[in-house]
């Protein structure tokens, strides 16, 4: 009896020790991502908000009520919300058939098309906004066909949001759809269910969480939309993000900006919490198969028509604006604008504009390394079996940089990171750091589903056989996530290449990045400047497309969210 009790308590003590070791390991893994976000995100944002809301050391919380009482502000809030809702609905409507086609059909050029429709997502709006006018503006396609001009209307904003976020739906929903076993639906039909009933009872429930997750991501991106609204909406439309920019950057009313930042913070936090919840629901066990087995050539007129419809939509809505960009880069000068990029006597830069390509690649490579390092550590910590609720909430927290305005983070850097040893305000390292901040969420979102899908029993078996935690990770997890790491790295790379908002704050004249160089060229009159801006945009587009095409070849077995 006594002996048995001792055995039990010994085993309990052992489990307790294991738990302690687990906690220590988890804390160790979390330390770097937590420190990274604390120093380069939370601290600067808190500093600038405090600067706006604190006078002589006293919090002016009354400002919140005052700002909210302004009818302008309420109008901005209302517009931000409803345009995001409508944009999300429209994106789902247009992109879901695309998700289905990419998931279920095999057709020539599929990989290329999937890479190309993702390009808008990583291109800076400063580039595409202008090209998008060719679709909806005067003399654009809609104008020529139906005499319809949508520039400076809300329709231009909505359509541009579809253009930018199409890929989010195609990749998130389509990724899962391609791996659902079609035989389940077929079985239901064999048992007598109609096509619709079979789809509604079998496929839809399996897809619903992915659709919800995609919808929430699109909602997040459109809720915080900046460039699209500024360029296409004209001065009468403003989202919260645009208003924060105006208040901070132009009007210099930091207290209003701080209140608006806090409102956006709360809204984005709620969206992310909801998102984290749907994502976890999605990770419930589904019978997944290799996507390459489920896709086949379309059969029958209906399926061909669907494919044609999706390709036509993609061509008009996504490819046409990109094509316009390429066309404008040639103009009447042929390759002249491209040649001009290699001269350094333009006066706009201290270096030849083409040097921006090298700068961008270097920054993006470094940003990728940082994002992958931080993101991998966070993902591993988040997938540990003993991860508590607090830790699981952390994955939503990692997404926050996607929803906080670049101008807030940028101004925050200026006043927060201004003391040695962290006086980084004018150091080049801030560019890759800021870009990594935006890249980490993509790394985490790509790696988490893969890591979570690794059978826990495999890890336990390895541990029982005496493997150290490091060795377990190396032998069990790593082989499974290696491709996910590469895919994540590619995304972080493409997003870094296109990042503009934060970079423009810190890029120096002797080493502009591609988007910064484009913006500067566009800021000057003259045909050469305009042509070079278009040529550089085309180069940026091609670099992004190549990176994404490379990813297509390395798709993971279980695709991540993007």
């Amino acid at each position: 009896m006594d002996l048995a009790r001792t055995e039990v308590s010994r085993a309990e003590a052992g489990r307790a020790a294991a738990r302690r070791r687990g906690t220590a390991a988890r804390l160790g893994l979390m330390a770097v991502p937590v420190a990274f976000f604390a120093v380069f995100f939370a601290y600067p944002v808190a500093a600038i908000v405090a600067r706006g809301l604190k006078t002589d050391g006293v919090w002016q919380l009354g400002r919140i009520g005052e700002v909210l009482a302004q009818s302008d502000v309420r109008q901005v809030l209302w517009f931000t919300t409803w345009q995001a809702l409508v944009s999300t609905a429209l994106t789902l409507l247009i992109a879901l058939p695309g998700a289905y086609v990419f998931a279920r059909f095999d057709f020539p050029g599929k990989q290329l098309l999937r890479a190309v429709v993702t390009v808008p997502f990583v291109l800076p709006t400063v580039v595409v906004g202008t090209a998008f006018m060719a679709l909806v503006g005067r003399g654009g396609l809609l104008d020529e066909l139906w005499g319809l001009r949508l520039d400076t209307t809300v329709w231009a904003i909505l359509l541009a949001h579809v253009f930018f976020n199409y890929a989010v739906v195609v990749r998130t929903v389509g990724g899962l759809w391609g791996q659902l076993d079609p035989r389940q639906e077929e079985a239901a039909r064999m048992l007598g269910a109609s096509r619709l009933t079979a789809w509604r009872t079998v496929t839809l429930p399996a897809l619903a969480p992915a659709v919800a997750a995609a919808a929430l991501m699109v909602f997040l991106f459109t809720f915080t939309s900046f460039g699209v609204v500024q360029i296409l909406g004209g001065p009468t439309f403003a989202t919260l993000e645009v208003e924060i920019y105006r208040q901070t950057s132009e009007i210099f009313d930091l207290s209003t900006a701080a209140v608006l930042t806090m409102i956006q913070f709360v809204a984005v936090g709620a969206i992310l919490a909801l998102h984290a919840w749907t994502v976890r629901r999605r990770e419930t066990a589904l019978r997944l198969v290799d996507a390459s087995q489920t896709a086949r050539r379309p059969r029958g007129a209906g399926q061909w028509a669907l494919l044609a419809g999706v390709v036509a939509t993609a061509a008009v809505l996504l490819l046409l604006p990109l094509a316009v960009l390429v066309e404008r880069s040639f103009g009447d000068a042929g390759l002249g604008h491209y040649r001009a990029l290699t001269h350094d006597d333009g006066g706009v830069f201290l270096v030849a504009p083409i040097a921006a390509v090298g700068n961008s690649l270097r920054y993006a490579a470094l940003a990728t390394v940082i994002a992958v390092a931080v993101g991998t550590l966070a993902s591993v910590a988040l997938t540990r079996r003993d991860a508590g609720r607090l830790v699981r909430g952390f994955d939503a927290l990692l997404m926050l940089p996607l929803g906080v305005s670049a101008v807030t983070v940028g101004f925050g850097f200026l006043i927060a990171l201004d003391e040695p040893p962290l006086d980084l305000r004018s150091s080049w390292i801030l560019v890759p750091l800021a870009q990594a901040l935006v890249g980490v969420p993509f790394v985490v979102r790509t790696m988490l589903p893969v890591l979570r899908a690794v059978d826990v029993r495999l890890r336990e078996a390895a541990a029982v056989l005496g493997a150290s935690p490091w060795r377990v990770w190396r032998e069990v997890d790593l082989p499974m996530v290696r491709r996910a790491v590469i895919v994540a790295a590619g995304f972080a790379f493409a997003v870094s290449l296109g990042e503009f908002g934060a970079t423009v704050f810190i890029a120096r004249p002797d080493n502009p990045t591609l988007p910064v160089a484009v913006a500067r060229l566009l800021g000057r009159p003259g045909e050469l400047n305009y042509g070079q801006a278009m040529a550089l945009s085309t180069i940026l587009m091609i670099v992004c497309a190549v990176a994404l095409l490379f990813l297509e070849r390395l798709r993971t077995d279980r695709s991540g969210e993007f």
Binding site: R138, Q230, G347, L528
Partner: protein, 365 residues
């Protein structure tokens, strides 16, 4: 091998997250103003992203003074001023260049600058001098915000382009003008201030009512107005811009000539010289500059003859120094307005926000 590589990548990545801190404080050239002492050989200029200068002119400054010039471009003009004010206790550099008369009071009220009278202050044309008691700022350049017109468009229709503010409200120019948002764009604001100077506090709003009835279009930024909507610019031609009148600068026509290949014999655009508002840009020694001696040398340089004569073709502005030569092609296609509207910075300071507010509710709502 894969694992070793990954470990290396991780290690390098983590190192980079923590190392730059040490890097920037030990290497004076990377820290702002070189706080570590050895950096006193570097002088840092903080400016907006329109800053540009010829390499040889900068090299001559460095050789003459022994200072190395570092330039930090900090976004557009308004943004750069705001950032400088935010960081004034611990500035990013020694000299700030690029605060114009519309924002000067914001900079002075926030004690952004410390006094320094440049060596050649007498050579500055008197009409551009400001703060002559305090010597906190030095004028560096000037430029006119004016309505530009598309020559070909008007020639084709045998219509004379408008010349004055009043002309713009005439029926023959209905639906032709595009301008940018006064609350977010510097030329947009300059144009509104021009009308306020021309028609006075009482009547400028009436003028804008007429302009609105005559179909003025407002877009958010100068880039959209000029590169998308204006039919006379390279971008506008490609984008099918249908507005032959745009609020831009008097220096935009020479830019259309100089940045073209091959260069045309005449500029495709012209300036309505009765619609101009004069902007003056100032520079000053930042209050807590770490290298004040270098900053003073830099300010002297900014109004020295070589730099003043170098500016037009780099920043597309006019010198403020008496007898500074303006390059021929610049002067030919972008002459300064004869009688531009001007306004005292103090008056702008008093009314700026209210005017922008009234203008916004009048024109945008």
């Amino acid at each position: 091998m894969n694992i070793t590589k990954k470990v290396t990548i991780l290690a390098v990545g983590l190192g980079l997250v923590t190392l730059p801190a040490c890097g920037s404080s030990s290497d004076g050239s990377d820290g702002p103003g070189g706080r570590s002492g050895g950096g006193s050989k570097t002088v840092t200029l903080v400016s907006h992203d329109s800053w540009a200068a010829s390499k040889d002119v900068v090299a001559a400054f460095e050789k003459e003074t022994g200072y190395r010039l570092r330039v930090l471009e900090d976004g557009d003009a308004g943004q750069a001023v705001n950032k400088a004010i935010l960081t004034k206790d611990n500035p990013q550099g020694d000299v700030f260049f690029g605060v114009d008369n519309t924002l000067l009071s914001r900079a002075l009220d926030n004690e952004l600058f410390q006094p320094y009278e440049v060596k050649d202050s007498d050579a500055v044309l008197p009409e551009y001098r400001a703060d002559e008691d305090g010597h906190r700022v030095t004028p560096v350049d000037t430029g006119d915000v004016c309505v530009n017109y598309d020559k070909e468009w008007f020639e084709k229709r045998d219509l004379a382009p408008p010349r004055t503010f009043d002309d713009l409200t005439e029926p023959e120019y209905k639906d032709l003008l595009v301008t940018s948002n006064a609350s977010t764009s510097s030329p947009g604001l300059g144009f509104v201030l021009g009308t306020a100077a021309r028609y006075g506090d009482e009547n400028w709003q009436d003028y804008w009512k007429k302009l609105k009835d005559n179909g003025v279009k407002v877009v958010d930024g100068w880039e959209q107005a000029y590169n998308e909507e204006f039919s006379g610019s390279a971008g506008g031609r490609q984008a099918g811009g249908d507005r032959p009148l745009v609020v831009s600068y008097a220096s935009s026509p020479p830019a259309e000539v100089i940045y073209a290949d091959p260069k045309p014999k005449t500029a495709p655009t012209g300036v309505a010289d009765g619609t101009c508002f004069r902007q003056v840009e100032y520079a000053g020694l930042l209050s807590n500059a770490r290298n004040p001696e270098g900053g003073k040398a830099l300010l002297d340089f900014l109004i020295s003859k070589p730099f003043q004569e170098d500016m037009p073709l780099n920043m597309f502005v006019y010198p403020v120094r008496e007898a500074a030569q303006v390059p021929e092609e610049f002067a030919e296609f972008g002459p300064q307005a004869e009688n531009p509207e001007t306004m005292d910075p103090t008056k702008i300071a008093e009314h700026r926000d209210q005017w922008i507010k009234s203008w916004t509710s009048l024109v945008l709502k």
